[in-house]
């Protein structure tokens, strides 16, 4: 039980509790804020997992930009609380059942230990082999010599340059799409 684990535990509990509240608050605004809270918790966990850059943009982009968008929309719609926000109990039952099974399964998947994964990857046929840059052999811990941003930037602008560029097209499309959809008349 290292300190790391303890901190992780705190963040984990924070995230789960926030998520629970997010899905159970009747008020949409409250839900949204609890979601923001979850995201902050996750950002903390990212830091613990040595993904500092991701943690930063989690806060900036997700918690900041995307969620603000949600809040805007909620306010824009300005709906009263829907008379019956909750679905009937069979739905609850089904949802909980599904969630339980899903959790169980996902947790079991955790059984894919690093060794097992490596073994399975090595026995894959060549045709399914994953290019070398996907696994640059970095199993080591400790700070990366390239720095927090550098270790993301290098692959991002080299191996993943084309996908990266394509995301710009994606974003452009999203912008245009949003304008087209949301405006009453063009």
């Amino acid at each position: 039980m290292t300190a790391l684990t303890v901190v992780f535990g705190i963040f984990a509990i924070w995230a789960v509790v926030s998520a629970l509240l997010c899905i159970t608050r009747t008020n949409a605004m409250a839900s949204a804020l609890w979601l923001v809270s979850t995201m902050f918790a996750l950002a903390g966990i990212y830091v613990l997992l040595q993904a500092e850059f991701i943690a930063a943009i989690q806060v900036l982009v997700y918690a900041g930009a995307v969620m603000v968008l949600f809040l805007f929309v909620i306010m824009l719609l300005n709906v009263e609380e829907t008379p019956r926000e909750w679905k009937r109990w069979p739905v609850w039952l089904l949802a909980s059942g599904l969630a339980a099974v899903l959790t169980a399964e996902l947790v079991t998947l955790r059984g894919y230990s690093p060794g097992r994964l490596a073994r399975e990857i090595s026995t894959m046929p060549d045709s399914m082999a994953i290019p070398a840059y996907v696994f640059p052999g970095a199993m080591g811990t400790g700070p990366d010599p390239r720095g927090v941003v550098g270790k993301i930037a290098e692959p991002l602008f080299q191996a993943y340059l084309i996908p990266f560029e394509i995301t710009s097209v994606l974003l452009l499309a999203a912008v245009i799409g949003a304008v087209v959809l949301a405006k009453k008349r063009l």
């Binding site: 679905k87 599904l98 099974v101 899903l102 399964e105 996902l106 998947l109």
Partner: protein
């Protein structure tokens, strides 16, 4: 000349093409058509004469003439388009081109006013070409070209006046009956090839005895299938019903195709493949009995027919029965002998009937009468108007009845004697002989009845018609006269020893028939007192039949068709031809058509496959689609639920 025998085929073929073109381009060039139509036949006849001379001078060996490789399919099956010239084909050549020329000549007069004159000669020439292929073919497939080809021409010529439905029907019926027979020939060919390994006549004669065991099932089956083909082509029981209907064609056609040549092809085929039959005694018995039964039954039907051509048609069926009786007893030469003499006198009878009909038709046309020109009840006393025709037909009648010294006497006597001889060892042949004898009596009766109804007594067709009756033109009577002479002297071909002859035809054909006869028990012909008794009996029967026929016909009053009472009892049965046509219609044709339409087409195809199977599949797909569309209720939540369930299930397999 033997090497140019293909000319005999080519000439009529060219004639057919030329006349065919004329028929399309300028159907009115009758002179040219007559010239080509008759000319090519005379040319073929000349070739035949040359061939005959050379065969006579030769040493009895067959000449095989390879024209080209027809179906060279593999090392073991190569069918050559080859011709075989030997004694048998020479005889057939002479009959076909000789009688054929006469009938062509007769047709010039008979068909003169028909709008389809050129077309008629095109068909007729084509027929001769095919018939020659049939008899000259060196192997079964080559003969089969002719075999089916003559069927085609027969179809076309029976339905020559196609605008009358009944004529087209008759043509189709003839072709179908022939085709049932062809089925037999085809199967026989398949079996021969697989069991003997060749379809060549000469090779068959050589190999078959070595390969096929005598009396074995295989030989018998092959022979019976071949014989099925013969019953179709030669109108024997059970496939004889087409021949009387075939009289729908022009009368010279009936004379050439349905009396003298094509219908005798069956007899020819049995003789050609005699070896196979000789190896199958059971098949021989079947051939003989079928022949005898056909001879008998057809003769009974002929007793009560009123249509002059129908009488002759049944008479032809009956006479063909005699020929099969002959070949069935192993007396191949006797069969061919009767074939030849029958060609003479039956062609004469038909042509005579043709000129009678021609005359009747013209007279009725002039008088504006619409009575049936072929119905003998409308005739009578024609002897005065048509003396030549009368005399010549009378000769033919005596010949067919078997009065000595006319040709029919010798040939028929030979057959009956052979059947009697076989009867010594095999009772079945005695029965056949008895049937033949009875048929002879009836032949004499119905022929004299025909003559009496047509030429004797007084004219019953109306006084307005009578003055217009006239003798046929010379172009028609001349062929009749030639045939008359041949009918008288035809017996000389094969004179028996008791009149000092030497069985000329029998010896002539020996090289052809020898391989077959060698395999069978020798035929010990009756001689001495038995022989004389048989001859005396035959003559007595013929005279009795003739006298009774004439006298009973003249004594009774003959009602015209309009006022004739309905026939009753056995007469009705005979008049209705035993109702075999109706029986076939009810038993085979009707049910088959019904079955095809209701069960196969509408039942199976349309209902079971289309509606149930194909339609059912479509319905199932539609149903599934409906279920699927129920899932698409538009509720996103519902979709997500399904999605989640799917994820869970997929993960389950990953985890498990």
């Amino acid at each position: 000349m033997t090497h140019f025998v293909w000319l005999a085929i080519l000439l009529p073929l060219l004639g057919a093409v030329a006349n065919g073109i004329i028929a399309v381009r300028r159907p009115d060039s009758r002179r040219l058509v007559s010239f080509i139509g008759v000319g090519v036949l005379l040319g073929a006849f000349a070739v035949s004469l040359g061939v005959l001379r050379e065969v006579a001078a030769g040493h009895g060996e067959a000449t095989k003439l390879l024209l080209w490789q027809w179906i060279p399919v593999s090392d073991r099956l190569t069918i050559d388009l080859a011709l075989q010239v030997d004694q048998l084909s020479a005889v057939m050549l002479m009959v076909i081109t000789g009688v054929g020329s006469l009938i062509h000549l007769f047709s010039v007069g008979y068909m003169q006013e028909d709008p389809g004159y050129a077309r008629y000669f095109a068909y007729l020439n084509l027929f001769v070409a095919f018939m020659l292929v049939l008899v000259l073919g060196a192997s079964l497939p080559v003969s089969f070209i002719g075999w089916e080809g003559v069927g085609l021409c027969s179809y076309l010529l029976i339905g020559f006046w196609f605008e009358v439905d009944a004529n087209s029907d008759a043509g189709k019926k003839a072709f179908l009956a022939n085709r049932i027979g062809d089925f037999g020939v085809l199967i026989a060919m398949f079996m021969l090839w697989w069991h003997v390994g060749t379809l060549d006549y000469a090779a068959l004669a050589e190999k078959a005895p070595a390969v096929l065991p005598y009396g074995g099932t295989i030989a018998t089956t092959i022979a019976l299938f071949l014989f099925l083909g013969c019953t179709g082509k030669s109108a024997q029981i059970p496939l004889f019903t087409w021949l009387p209907d075939a009289m729908a064609g022009p009368t010279p056609v009936s004379a050439l195709i349905h009396a003298a040549t094509m219908v005798t092809a069956g007899v020819f085929l049995v003789v050609r493949t005699g070896v196979i039959f000789a190896l199958a005694p059971v098949a021989m018995e079947v051939v003989a009995i079928t022949g005898a039964l056909t001879a008998f039954f057809a003769a009974t039907i002929a007793l009560r027919q009123n249509d002059i051509k129908k009488v002759l048609a049944y008479s032809t069926v009956s006479q063909l029965g005699y020929m099969f009786l002959a070949v069935g007893t192993g007396a191949f030469a006797a069969g061919i002998f009767h074939l030849v003499t029958h060609a003479f006198f039956k062609a004469l009878l038909f042509l005579g009937a043709g000129s009678v009909i021609h005359s009747m038709h013209h007279a009725q046309h002039h008088a504006g009468s619409h009575a049936d020109p072929q119905d003998m009840r409308n005739m009578g006393g024609l002897r005065k108007a048509m003396p030549w025709t009368f005399i010549l037909m009378a000769i033919a009648t005596l010949a067919i009845a078997g009065l000595p010294p006319l040709s029919g006497f010798f040939s028929k006597d030979e057959i009956l004697a052979a059947a009697f001889a076989r009867g010594e060892t095999n009772g079945l042949y005695r029965v056949a002989w008895g049937l033949g004898l009875a048929a002879a009596l009836m032949t004499a009766y119905y022929m004299s009845r025909l003559m009496a109804m047509t030429f004797l007594g007084t004219f019953r067709g109306g006084s307005d018609v009578e003055p217009h009756l006239h003798e046929a033109p010379a172009v028609m009577t001349a062929p009749l006269a030639v045939l008359g002479i041949l009918s008288v002297i035809g017996g000389a071909l094969n004179l028996p020893s008791f009149v000092g002859g030497s069985h000329g035809l029998e010896h002539w054909l020996e090289p052809v028939t020898e391989p077959a006869t060698r395999l069978m028990d020798a035929l010990v012909m009756p001689h001495g007192s038995v022989e004389y008794a048989l001859i005396a009996g035959a003559i007595a029967i013929a005279i009795t039949g003739l006298v009774v026929g004439v006298r009973s016909t003249l004594r009774s009053t003959i009602p015209t068709p309009a006022e004739a009472p309905a026939e009753t009892g056995i007469r009705r049965l005979l008049y209705g031809k035993y109702f075999i046509d109706e029986l076939y219609q009810k038993l085979f044709v009707g049910p088959l058509v019904w079955f095809s339409r209701r069960v196969l087409w509408q039942g199976f195809d349309q209902f079971l496959v289309d509606r149930m199977a194909v339609g059912g599949t479509a319905r199932v797909a539609q149903g599934l689609g409906w279920l699927g569309s129920r899932l698409q209720n538009g509720q996103v939540a519902f979709y997500v639920t399904l999605f989640a369930v799917g994820v869970v299930l997929i993960l389950r397999t990953l985890v498990g």
